[in-house]
C-alpha cells in the first residue's frame, strides 16, 4: 500500500529506539496532521496559487467564492488555490504598500477599480487576459474599458456593482408618483415622497463620518449634466456641469434626505419602509432584504434619472500578476472562474446581478436566475461609466480627491452656503493636489 511521506514519518514515531528530540518532532508532525485540513494534504504535490482578496471576510459572499475555489481545486491536480489578503477596509492600503515595496505577494489579485487602475498603469504588474477572452469566446461588458491599455485587457470582472435608483413601489404608489426621468422631476417626486420624520423621499449618505460611502455615491453627481471630476491632471470641480450636478444633490438633500443621520441608520429606515428611494448599487437590495425580508417584494429599480442614464460602474476585476511564479496557474484560475457555468453558480450564490460578460446568452441558468429578479431592470438600463473615466489622473488619489470635495461641499450645506463657492475652494485645493501627483 503506498504511503505518503507524512504517513511514513507518522509510523516512525512509534520506534522504541527514538530519542526524546525525535519523539517531540514526531509528535509535532502528528499534531500538525490532525490540525491541517485534509485538502492541504495534497498541497505538497501541487503549486499553491494565492488569490489576494477581501472576499474571504465578506459574510454572504465568501461561501460562493469558497465553493468556486473548491471546484477549481477538484477540477485539476496541478494547482491548489488559497486565499490571502485583508478585510475590504484595509485591503487597498496593504496592497499599495506591497506594490510600492516592489511586488504583490500573490498570483491573482482581486481589486477595487482604483486599485486595479494603479496595478495596471502605475505598478505595471498585470498580465494581459486577452487569451482567456479569446478562448472562452466571451465579450466583456462595456465597463471593462478602464482595464484596457494599449489595446490589451488586463482584468476581468469578478464583482460588478453599478448605480441606479432603487425604489419602494408601495410608497411610490401611495404618493401617486413614478420614478423620475429628469433631474427636476427627481427633486419634485422626492419632495412629494417626504413626510418628515415618518418618511423620507430619498436615502443619500451625507456625513463625513461615512465619507467612503458618501463619496461612493456623490461621485455620480458629475454625470447628470455630463460633467467630469477631472480631465488628466486638471480638476473640474467648479465646472458648470459639476456644480449643477452638486446643486441637484443639494436640492435632493433639502427635499427629502434624513440629514445628519448615519449611513447604518439610513439603511435601517429604508429597510423599515420609511425611505422611498435610494441612489445606490445593486447590493443595496441584498442588504435591504437581509435587514427586512418583507421589504424585498416592494423593491424595484429605475435607470439614473437623467438623459444619458450614465452611472458609475465599479468593476472589481481579477488580475493575473505578472510577478507570479505560477503565471500559467493564475491564468488557468481566472479562465476557470470566468467559464459560464462556474460564473453563473457564483452569481446565483452571491446574488451578483451584473455579469462580467454576455453571460445570459451563454448560461440558461443565469438567464433563469435573472428572470425572477424584477428589481434588476434599472441596473441593466444604466449606462456603465468607470470611475476612472471621470476622475482623470486623480483616479490614483480618489479618496483624497473625494475628501476635498466632501469637506468643501459641506460648506454649501451650511445656511447661506453655495455650491459654486464651495467648489471654487475645492478647486484650489485640488490644483495643489495635482502638483503632487
Amino acid at each position: 500500500m503506498p504511503k505518503s511521506s507524512r504517513g511514513d514519518r507518522g509510523i516512525a514515531v512509534f520506534n522504541p529506539s527514538l530519542s526524546r528530540r525525535g519523539f517531540m518532532a514526531g509528535a509535532a508532525v502528528l499534531g500538525a496532521t490532525a490540525i491541517v485540513p485534509s485538502r492541504r494534504v495534497f498541497a505538497q504535490d501541487r503549486a499553491v496559487l494565492k488569490v489576494m482578496s477581501w472576499e474571504q471576510f465578506q459574510p454572504g459572499e465568501k461561501e460562493g467564492w469558497n465553493a468556486l475555489f473548491d471546484k477549481f481545486n477538484r477540477s485539476q491536480s496541478k494547482y491548489l488555490v488559497e486565499w490571502t489578503g485583508w478585510p475590504a477596509s484595509q485591503f487597498a492600503s496593504n496592497v499599495v504598500i506591497q506594490a510600492q515595496a516592489g511586488g504583490i505577494d500573490a498570483d491573482v489579485l482581486m481589486a477595487m477599480p482604483d486599485l486595479a487602475a494603479q496595478t495596471i498603469r502605475k505598478f505595471k504588474l498585470a498580465e494581459p487576459l486577452d487569451p482567456i477572452v479569446a478562448e472562452l469566446g466571451i465579450t466583456p461588458s462595456g465597463g471593462h474599458e478602464f482595464l484596457k491599455q494599449d489595446g490589451k485587457l488586463y482584468g476581468l470582472s469578478a464583482i460588478d456593482v453599478n448605480f441606479a435608483l432603487v425604489y419602494n413601489k408601495k410608497l411610490f404608489a401611495d404618493a401617486g408618483v413614478k420614478p423620475a426621468t429628469s433631474a427636476d422631476e427627481w427633486v419634485e417626486t422626492t419632495a412629494k415622497l417626504t413626510k418628515r420624520p415618518e418618511q423620507f423621499g430619498i436615502a443619500l449618505t451625507n456625513t463625513i463620518a461615512d465619507g467612503g460611502e458618501w463619496w461612493f455615491q456623490l461621485q455620480n453627481f458629475c454625470l447628470p449634466f455630463d460633467g467630469k471630476w477631472a480631465e488628466g491632471k486638471t480638476p473640474l470641480a467648479n465646472s458648470p456641469e459639476t456644480v449643477k450636478g452638486l446643486e441637484l444633490w443639494k436640492a435632493l438633500y433639502e427635499a427629502g434626505v434624513p440629514q445628519g443621520t448615519a449611513q447604518g441608520a439610513i439603511m435601517k429606515l429604508a429597510a423599515d419602509g420609511r425611505v422611498a428611494q435610494a441612489f445606490g448599487v445593486n447590493p443595496t437590495v441584498v442588504v435591504l432584504r437581509a435587514t427586512n425580508p418583507d421589504i424585498y417584494p416592494n423593491l424595484l429599480s429605475a435607470a439614473p434619472p437623467w438623459a444619458s442614464k450614465r452611472s458609475l460602474d465599479r468593476i472589481h476585476p481579477l488580475i493575473a500578476l505578472n510577478s507570479s511564479k505560477n503565471l500559467d496557474g493564475a491564468m488557468e484560475f481566472i479562465k476557470f472562474a470566468m467559464s459560464p457555468d462556474v460564473m453563473a453558480d457564483l452569481m446565483e450564490t452571491n446574488l451578483y446581478v451584473i455579469p462580467p460578460y454576455d453571460l445570459a446568452a451563454k448560461s440558461e441558468k443565469f438567464k433563469t436566475f435573472l428572470a425572477d429578479k424584477p428589481w434588476v431592470t434599472g441596473y441593466n438600463e444604466a449606462k456603465q461609466v468607470s470611475p476612472i473615466d471621470v476622475m482623470g489622473d486623480f483616479a490614483y488619489v480618489d479618496d483624497q480627491f473625494g475628501r476635498i470635495i466632501m469637506q468643501n461641499f459641506q460648506r454649501a450645506l451650511q445656511p447661506g452656503g453655495t455650491v459654486k463657492d464651495a467648489m471654487d475652494a475645492a478647486q484650489k485645493q485640488l490644483e495643489a493636489l495635482a502638483a503632487r501627483i
Binding site: S93, V96, I97, Q100, R196, P197, T207, I208, A209, D210, G211, P258, Q259, G260, T261, A262, A265, V397, D399, Q400, R403, M406, Q407, N408, Q410, R411, L413, Q414, Q429, A432, R436, I437
Partner: protein
C-alpha cells in the same frame, strides 16, 4: 580546591557582574526592546517624512506642509480640541474626585458607576453617541427641544462649532473617570492634620481647598495635565467614528490627519512629516512638565 581552579576568565566575568557594568547589563534587554520598538520606529518615521511623492529625499514635505492651509487648519483644530479637553476634563475630574472624597452612604457604588464610561471601549461609545446625536431621531435633540429657547433640531455633527463641542464633550465623558480616580487617590493622601490646622486658622471650605487641597495635589494635577495633553493629541477613534474629521475639516486633528495621509491617501512621506510635528508637540509637553515639576520641587 575551588580557589585553585578559578581561571582569569572567571575572575573578569565576576568583576563584570559584581562591578559597575551590572546595572547596564540588567537594563540591556529593556534598552534593546526600546530601541527596536520605540527608537527605530521614531527614526524610521522621521526618515519617511523626508521622502517625497517620487521617492526623492528632501524637505519637500515640510515645505508643502507649511504652505498647506489644511495643515494650519488641522493644527488649529488640534489646539482647540486639546486645550478644551485638557481644561474641562481636569475640572470635571477634580469636581468628581472632591465629591467622591466625601463620606456618604453608597459611596463605593457611586465610585464604581463613575468608572463605567472609562471601562466601555471607544467604538461602542462612538456609535452610541452618533445615534444619540442624530438630528432627527436622537435623544439629544429631544432633550434640547424641551428647553424653551430651542425650536429647531440642532445639527450636532453637521455644524463645525457644534461638532467640535460634541467631540470634546464625548472625550471628556469617556476619559474623566481615570483622572478622577487618580485625583481621588491624591486627595486621600492629603493629611487631615493640615485641614485641622487650616480650620484652626479660620479657613472655610473654599480657603481649605485653595490653601491645603490644591497645593497638595498640584503635582498630580500637573502630571494629569500632561497625560491629558498627550492622550488628547493622540485621540483618534472617537473623533474618526463620530465626525470623521468633518464637517469642513473642523475636527480633523493631528491623529486623524496622520491616519488620512498615511492609510487613506497613501502619502506616507507627508504623514511622516505630520507625525514628526506630533512627536515634537508631545515631546515639548513632556519637557514642559519636567521643567514645571522641577520648579515646583525647588519652590517646596
Amino acid at each position: 580546591m575551588s580557589v585553585a581552579t578559578i581561571s582569569p576568565a572567571d575572575t573578569s566575568r565576576r568583576s563584570l557582574v559584581d562591578g559597575k557594568a551590572l546595572p547596564y547589563l540588567l537594563i540591556l534587554p529593556a534598552l534593546a526592546l526600546e530601541c527596536v520598538f520605540i527608537l527605530y520606529p521614531i527614526v524610521r518615521g522621521s526618515l519617511f517624512s523626508l521622502e517625497g511623492p517620487a521617492g526623492d529625499l528632501g524637505l519637500d514635505n515640510f515645505r508643502f506642509m507649511v504652505a498647506d492651509p489644511a495643515f494650519w487648519q488641522m493644527l488649529k483644530a488640534t489646539f482647540i480640541y486639546v486645550l478644551f479637553v485638557d481644561v474641562i476634563i481636569l475640572l470635571v475630574a477634580l469636581a468628581v474626585a472632591l465629591l467622591m472624597n466625601w463620606s456618604f452612604r453608597g459611596r463605593g457604588v457611586v465610585r464604581s458607576i463613575l468608572t463605567v464610561p472609562w471601562a466601555i471601549p471607544d467604538v461602542p461609545v462612538a456609535i452610541t453617541f452618533v445615534l444619540m446625536l442624530d438630528p432627527t431621531f436622537g435623544v439629544f435633540n429631544r432633550l434640547a427641544r424641551l428647553l424653551p429657547w430651542v425650536g429647531d433640531n440642532q445639527q450636532w455633527l453637521l455644524d463645525p462649532t457644534l461638532a467640535m463641542a460634541t467631540i470634546i464633550i464625548v472625550t471628556v465623558w469617556k476619559g474623566f473617570p481615570f483622572y478622577s480616580l487618580v485625583l481621588l487617590a491624591a486627595l486621600q493622601n492629603v493629611s487631615d492634620e493640615l485641614y485641622d490646622a487650616a480650620r484652626v486658622d479660620g479657613a472655610g471650605p473654599i480657603g481649605q481647598f485653595f490653601h491645603v487641597t490644591l497645593p497638595d495635589i498640584r503635582d498630580t494635577i500637573a502630571l494629569l495635565a500632561v497625560l491629558a495633553f498627550i492622550f488628547s493629541t493622540q485621540q483618534f477613534t472617537l473623533i474618526w467614528l463620530i465626525t470623521g474629521g468633518g464637517p469642513v475639516d473642523a475636527t480633523t486633528t493631528l491623529a486623524v490627519a496622520i491616519y488620512l495621509q498615511a492609510f487613506r491617501f497613501y502619502n506616507f512621506g507627508y504623514a511622516g512629516a505630520f507625525a514628526v510635528i506630533g512627536f515634537l508637540i508631545s515631546a515639548l509637553a513632556t519637557i514642559a512638565f519636567v521643567i514645571i515639576q522641577r520648579r515646583l520641587a525647588r519652590e517646596e
